[in-house]
């Protein structure tokens, strides 16, 4: 079953990359949708961790690293090469000599140092500071105890040495939206929120608050021949139904689909052939609080995993817009174990496990849930009758999304249902199960296993990627066996695109975020392009 699913996921990737075609053509306007809200919080993207602002970042800015959706890993972006010290903690970056900011300033090491200091500046309280914390001395700077970040050293204009706190892969933290590079010669920093200046392929043109951001081709972009598009209108469209009409009316070029639309589009000629699918890096789950007596027993948690028919819920409610989860790490993770079977739907086994644990008569628990259709109250309502059959009574506790975060991080829940980041970096994803990780950080189920810790700590020290993946795979299997959560599914993101759009990639990090500089429009596009 799992092999079949993995194959399906790989095929999806194949379909997705099929969108990449030869014969790129320059010109045209892309109308791209930003579906996660009805406004951009700010154009100063270093200040904002929201997905919505990533649409702007991708066009206007660049970071030291970027995410390569085809290779499924972070790659160097603003440096042409790097030298790594023997212990893996010091990296010397040879920066691009042809990278120029939109205000005409060439990129130098000073810009990177300036940007990282701005992000980590305690007065700014930017969320990206936690990513900069991987650099040696950043913690002291963030705490206001140092004037400089000691791990940042300029060798010359185009050579930068960064000392990290350990032998980590700095690509993951330094490719983030909030760690992009700004020019160091802008005196009024508040101007970044209104007129952003970056190194990206597109230059900022206009922002109509609550409506759209318009960017235009930057002639001095460092990638020769790119970008292909003349202009991008990034329009705000939070409503699924409205996006559906606009897409069918050919007013927008791409649309992110929800479960219902996914099912509808699959059945329609002209739409079904232009769907881009990818297994994203999120695991939907119900987390159990071990402070609640029944959840202290592993057999109870395992029983719940056996009692729920996850594939049925995925088919009926999620309309197959997800892959059943067989553990914490998702299909797109390098440490995903494709041999590991998911918990089988087996109510009799569930009853036996409950009886062994002393809960033959069942018990009652509360699930804190947001209204989200794919990982909220509707899913809790679906598991209700399944768990009732093994004697467990579930009570949904509906809350708003922001209240869910509060309840979970303050440990005031019996169980919660959520969708959590579980990739692409397995080391970072499994950190949330390390006993030293605070509950309020991301060890939401207060998980503690000496066996897991041993494997995880070994993986932290391991420099060989294959060996590291193997250790993490074993650690992931321990988590699966301990069942601190009900493993529901891995999200399948789906994007519908117009037939004249090319160059879209299956971005497992977030499908809605696309590399605009690779996108091009062919001659079949309507006149508006």
């Amino acid at each position: 079953m799992l092999k079949k699913l993995t194959l399906a996921a790989m095929l999806s990737l194949g379909v997705a990359t099929g969108a990449l075609a030869a014969g790129e053509r320059s010109g045209g306007t892309l109308v791209f949708t930003a579906p996660y809200g009805s406004s951009f919080a700010t154009l100063d993207v270093q200040a904002s961790p929201n997905t919505q602002e990533e649409f702007i970042t991708q066009a206007i800015h660049r970071g030291l690293y970027s995410w390569d959706s085809v290779q499924n890993k972070p790659v160097l972006e603003l440096a042409t090469s790097e030298d790594i010290s023997a212990d893996g903690t010091v990296r010397t970056y040879h920066l691009r000599k042809n990278a120029v900011f939109h205000n005409g300033k060439p990129l130098t090491a000073d810009d990177i140092i300036y940007s990282y200091k701005r992000i980590a500046n305690p007065k700014n309280a930017f969320s990206g500071a936690s990513f900069i914390a991987v650099i040696k001395g950043a913690d002291d700077y963030i705490a206001g105890k140092a004037e400089e970040i000691s791990g940042l050293k300029k060798i010359d204009d185009h050579t930068l040495e960064i000392t990290y706190t350990g032998p980590i892969n700095p690509g993951f933290p330094l490719m983030q939206n909030t760690t992009v590079i700004y020019p160091s010669n802008v005196e009024d920093e508040t101007s970044f929120a209104k007129t952003p200046v970056g190194l990206g392929a597109f230059i900022f043109k206009e922002h109509v608050p609550g409506s759209q951001v318009v960017v235009e081709k930057f002639g001095k972009y460092y990638e020769e021949g790119k970008p292909y598009l003349d202009r991008i209108n990034i329009v705000l469209m939070g409503e699924d139904a409205a996006r559906d009409v606009a897409f069918r009316n050919k007013e927008i070029d791409v649309s992110i689909l929800g479960p219902t639309q996914y099912q509808a589009y699959q059945g329609e000629d002209g739409l079904k052939d232009h769907l881009l699918e990818v297994a994203e890096v999120y695991t939907r789950n119900i987390g159990f609080n071990p402070a609640f007596e029944p959840f202290k027993d592993k057999r109870v948690r395992q029983a719940i995993n056996h009692a729920i028919n996850a594939p049925l819920i995925i088919e009926r409610l999620v309309k197959n817009k997800a892959y059943p989860a067989s553990g914490w790490l998702p299909i797109s993770s390098p440490a995903f174990d494709k041999e590991q079977a998911a918990y089988a739907f087996d109510p009799e086994k569930a009853k036996a496990l409950l009886a062994e644990a002393g809960y033959a008569d069942g018990f009652e628990f509360e699930v804190t849930a947001s209204p989200n259709e794919s990982w909220g109250v509707p899913i809790v309502e679906a598991i209700l009758p399944m768990l009732k059959k093994v004697g467990i009574t579930v009570k949904p506790k509906p809350v708003e999304s922001s209240a869910l975060g509060d309840a979970v991080t303050s440990n005031t829940f019996q169980a919660f249902i959520w969708s959590n980041l579980s990739g692409p970096d397995p080391l970072n994803a499994l950190r949330c199960f390390h006993s030293k990780t605070l509950q309020s950080a991301c060890n939401y189920t207060s998980y503690a296993s000496p066996e897991f810790d041993k494997l995880y700590e070994a993986a932290q020290q391991e420099r060989d990627p294959a060996k590291q993946s193997d250790l993490l795979r074993q650690a992931n299997n321990i988590v699966q066996d301990d069942a601190p959560v009900w493993f529901f599914n891995y999200n399948k993101a789906v994007m519908a695109y117009q037939p004249w759009i090319h160059g879209l990639v299956p971005n497992a990090m977030e499908l809605a975020i696309q590399p605009y500089d690779d996108i091009w429009i062919d001659e079949t596009a309507p006149a508006r392009q």
């Binding site: 929120a193 609550g210 329009v235 949330c432």
Partner: protein
């Protein structure tokens, strides 16, 4: 008239104070914080240090009373505070969105007035006629139709099927983009105006002074113009005022549906992420708008009917 005007304007102040207090109290007790909302989508792990830094920066660690005093003091100086999310003054954010909201509300009201009042008038002049029946069926339908559904229907018909109008967006403020959201928003006040006008006119038509005017040989046109219209106007103006005042609040759904950049969508976004200063500021502006319109209606009312001023 001046005393009447001043009295009405001064009545706004205590209402605003009470509303401000209510908003502050409600958003101080509802669960959820801005810092927690940053990772509510599960796309990043929670960072307790960041949460602590943000709560510190926004003064959320301070006692409730201290925060309230700061809020009231700032408000008294017309300072609505700074957005947690954008870190820009709330007043700037509202300013950026206000014109789009006003434009939508005005267009919707004009649409409702231009069609609703004449229809109601004509229906009342010919009670029981086909026009009357059709108008009243239309009015009941307009009042009972959910705006979200109607908006989708309009998009489907005028954008997707007929391809006459864009289905969404602000389009740099073009008139074409305004039509569908304005009509969708205007249908409810239109229906209400048609019904109110009809009822008001019918009431006047049955009054003794109309019978007297007719018996004195006054022409139908003159009776309608000098007696019916003027007397029915009081009820129409009241309805217009109430509807116009509440349109900005009602526009929330329409703005979200049509991706219209008004303060309604700003409010919804801000509530979801607990950007409290923006929520407080936006609600205050909506309430203020309602109060100003109602005060204006009271003043117009007094001008139309001197008896009100005397009362």
């Amino acid at each position: 008239m001046l005393r009447f005007t001043l009295r009405r304007i001064l009545q706004i102040i205590p209402t605003v104070v009470v509303v401000a207090l209510l908003i502050f109290v409600i958003f101080s007790v509802v669960p959820g914080t801005f810092a927690a909302s940053l990772f509510a989508d599960g796309k990043r792990a929670a960072d307790p240090q960041m949460i602590a830094r943000l709560n510190e920066e926004f003064g959320l660690n301070k006692p409730l009373m201290e925060r309230f005093v700061t809020y009231v003091t700032d408000l008294a100086q017309f300072d609505l505070g700074t957005s947690f999310r954008t870190r820009q003054p709330v007043i700037d954010l509202i300013h950026d969105r206000m014109w789009a909201s006003l434009k939508l509300a005005i267009a919707a009201m004009v649409f409702a007035l231009v069609i609703g009042v004449p229809l109601g008038f004509l229906a009342a002049m010919r009670p029981g006629s086909v026009l009357d029946t059709v108008t009243m069926i239309g009015a009941v339908s307009g009042l009972s139709m959910p705006q979200f559904w109607l908006g989708l229907l309009m998009m489907y018909l005028f954008a997707l099927q007929l391809n006459w109008l864009p289905s969404f967006g602000y389009g740099n403020g073009s008139f074409q983009n305004l039509i569908l959201p304005a009509i969708t928003l205007g249908v409810t006040p239109l229906a209400l105006l048609a019904r109110t006008t009809r009822a008001g006119v019918l009431d006047v038509l049955n009054a003794d002074f109309i019978r007297t005017a007719h018996s004195k040989g006054m022409s139908e046109i003159k009776v309608v113009r000098w007696h019916v219209a003027r007397n029915a106007l009081v009820l129409i103006v009241t309805t217009v005022g109430l509807q116009f005042g509440s349109l900005i609040g009602q526009a929330v759904v329409i703005e979200k549906l049509f991706a219209w950049p008004g303060i309604g969508s700003l409010l919804v976004d801000s509530v979801a992420i607990r950007d409290i200063p923006v929520v407080q500021g936006t609600i205050l502006v909506i309430v203020l708008w309602f109060l100003v319109i109602n005060t204006a209606v009271d003043l117009i009312y007094a001008a139309i009917d001197p008896r009100i001023k005397q009362e």
